[in-house]
């Protein structure tokens, strides 16, 4: 093992420039992949938070009777998925609206002589995986009841956003696969150069009784090292960018998505990326070693 490591170091030293170019390429590729993943992680977290905050608002007709309201409340309380129900009378809704939108510059809200808002029920559902489905199902039931004017839970936005997330997921997978293929090709060529620069030594090693494993292991280590170093550097670049953006645009984030942090890639994902880097390096080396052996250089 010690011998393999020292051979690896010697291989790297004799091909220092190629090794550095290869690492730089891997770093760039992992930076791109890392950036996409950061965007994905944050959009996903945004969607999850949004999903958890979704409430079903049941707007009532102005002519709703006490009897109709009693029936509605009974239907609501019978649904075990609903965590809480809040009745908002139209006066309270109007007061809240005025409080939020009235300003000194415009007197439109204050000048309005009637209350255009309806009374409503705000329903909060218990957290679960299929929460949005349950909300959708209950909305279909309740909107047909007497006294109900309409229901609202931002369905159009949610569906569009969910579709967008599926697209992003496929996009990242495709980008990842393309980058991985490119990296395997680059590493494979770097190792091939390393092989050719030591061709005389490798041939001699086989002639004097070295096992194929003894010859191959240093090159596999070199490939894996390239993958590992490249992925570490790539993720470091993304982390630096993440810190910079977090500090520079902190205020803007608060206004866009209140209560949401600008997150970095999760630890398991970081670990997976490093493993992917090592795997890509190993595979790239293996491909070039196989080519080298099949050409009969080492018989």
């Amino acid at each position: 093992m010690l011998n393999s490591v020292s051979t690896t170091i010697s291989n790297i030293k004799s091909n220092r420039q190629v090794f550095l170019v290869s690492i730089t390429t891997i770093t760039i590729a992992f930076s791109i992949l890392g950036l996409f993943l950061v965007i994905f992680v944050n959009l996903n977290s945004f969607l999850t938070t949004w999903n958890q905050q979704v409430q079903l608002i049941v707007y009532l007709e102005d002519t709703v009777t006490a009897n109709q309201r009693q029936v509605l409340e009974q239907v609501i309380s019978q649904n075990l998925d609903i965590e809480s129900m809040t009745f908002i009378p139209k006066e309270a809704a109007w007061a809240k609206f005025k409080n939020t939108f009235s300003s000194k510059k415009s007197s439109f809200v204050d000048d309005l002589k009637f209350n255009p808002l309806p009374s409503s029920y705000s329903l909060k559902f218990k957290p679960s995986e299929d929460r949005i489905l349950k909300v959708r199902k209950f909305a279909d039931v309740i909107k047909k009841k007497d006294g109900v004017e309409s229901v609202e839970f931002g369905e159009k936005w949610l569906v569009a956003f969910e579709k967008f997330m599926v697209f992003i997921r496929i996009f990242i997978l495709a980008i990842g696969a393309l980058l991985a293929l490119g990296l395997i090709f680059i590493i494979s060529n770097t190792i091939k150069l390393s092989f050719y620069s030591r061709q005389d030594e490798i041939e001699l090693m086989l002639l004097i009784g070295a096992t194929p494993k003894f010859i191959v292991i240093p090159f596999l280590i070199e490939g894996m090292l390239q993958g590992l170093l490249g992925s570490i550097l790539g993720l470091s670049v993304v982390k630096c960018l993440h810190i910079y953006i977090s500090v520079q645009f902190k205020g803007s984030f608060d206004s866009i998505a209140r209560g949401l942090d600008f997150q970095f890639i999760t630890i398991p994902l970081i670990f997976s990326l490093l493993m992917a880097g090592i795997f890509i390096g190993w595979l790239g080396s293996l491909i070039s070693i196989r080519q080298f052996l099949s050409l009969g250089h080492t018989r």
Binding site: E201, L206, L207, I208, G209
Partner: protein, 218 residues
């Protein structure tokens, strides 16, 4: 030790290199392999070392059919055989000491043993004073002595030498030949390919003659 039965080898399925070659070499024997250039001496040695495959026949080394050794297990055969090449095949980036110790490193010997055995091998060929020199700094004779030290350092049972004196003047050639004689006295089987008839006549060893791929004398 070495047995060949009706070995035939052609290049590209057309040009015959060896035709129906049969002979054997006993343990500890010194054999000259001779014949004109292109007769098939090198091909024969390469077959024994399995850097070439043959078309027909059987080759046994220590009773082992070497034609059946899979490529990934070839190292087992090559650890039993030391090969000395006409062009020495020394690594120019490594010193004399490193070239010899390299042969032990690749077979996984421990560091202490490597140092001791390398020193001993260099002492046997009279090159301890050149241990830090690099091959391009040495004469042809010295380079071949390093190659012999490298071939002997792992105590092989057989030495195959392909025109080891081909590039050397007669005086140095004799010095090199004596190194092989010394190895034989220690029980190593030697197959020494040469077309130098004076050298062959100077010793009383069995001579195998090949002409156009066929065995003429054994």
């Amino acid at each position: 030790m070495i047995q060949l039965f009706n070995v035939t080898k052609t290049y590209g399925g057309v040009t015959p290199a060896l035709i129906d070659v049969t002979f054997s070499v006993k343990k500890g024997e010194f054999v000259f392999l001779t014949g004109p250039s292109g007769a098939g001496k090198t091909t024969l040695l390469k077959i024994l070392f399995r850097t070439e495959k043959f078309d027909r026949g059987q080759v046994l080394v220590h009773g082992k059919n070497i034609g059946k050794i899979p490529d990934r297990k070839l190292y087992t055969l090559r650890r039993e055989i030391g090969f000395v090449f006409q062009d020495y095949k020394l690594l120019a980036r490594k010193s004399v000491f490193e070239n010899v110790s390299f042969a032990q490193e690749v077979v996984g010997a421990d560091r202490k043993r490597i140092r001791f055995k390398t020193w001993e091998a260099l002492k046997n060929v009279g090159l301890t004073h050149k241990k830090d020199a690099f091959p391009p700094q040495l004469s042809g004779g010295e380079q071949q002595r390093v190659a012999i030290a490298r071939a002997l350092v792992n105590s092989p049972k057989i030495i195959l030498a392909d025109e080891p004196t081909g590039n050397l003047d007669p005086e140095i050639s004799l010095e090199v030949l004596n190194l092989f004689e010394h190895a034989r006295k220690k029980g190593v089987t030697i197959v020494f390919a040469t077309h130098d008839q004076d050298m062959i006549r100077s010793r009383n060893h069995r001579v195998i003659v090949i002409k156009r791929g066929e065995l003429v004398e054994r």
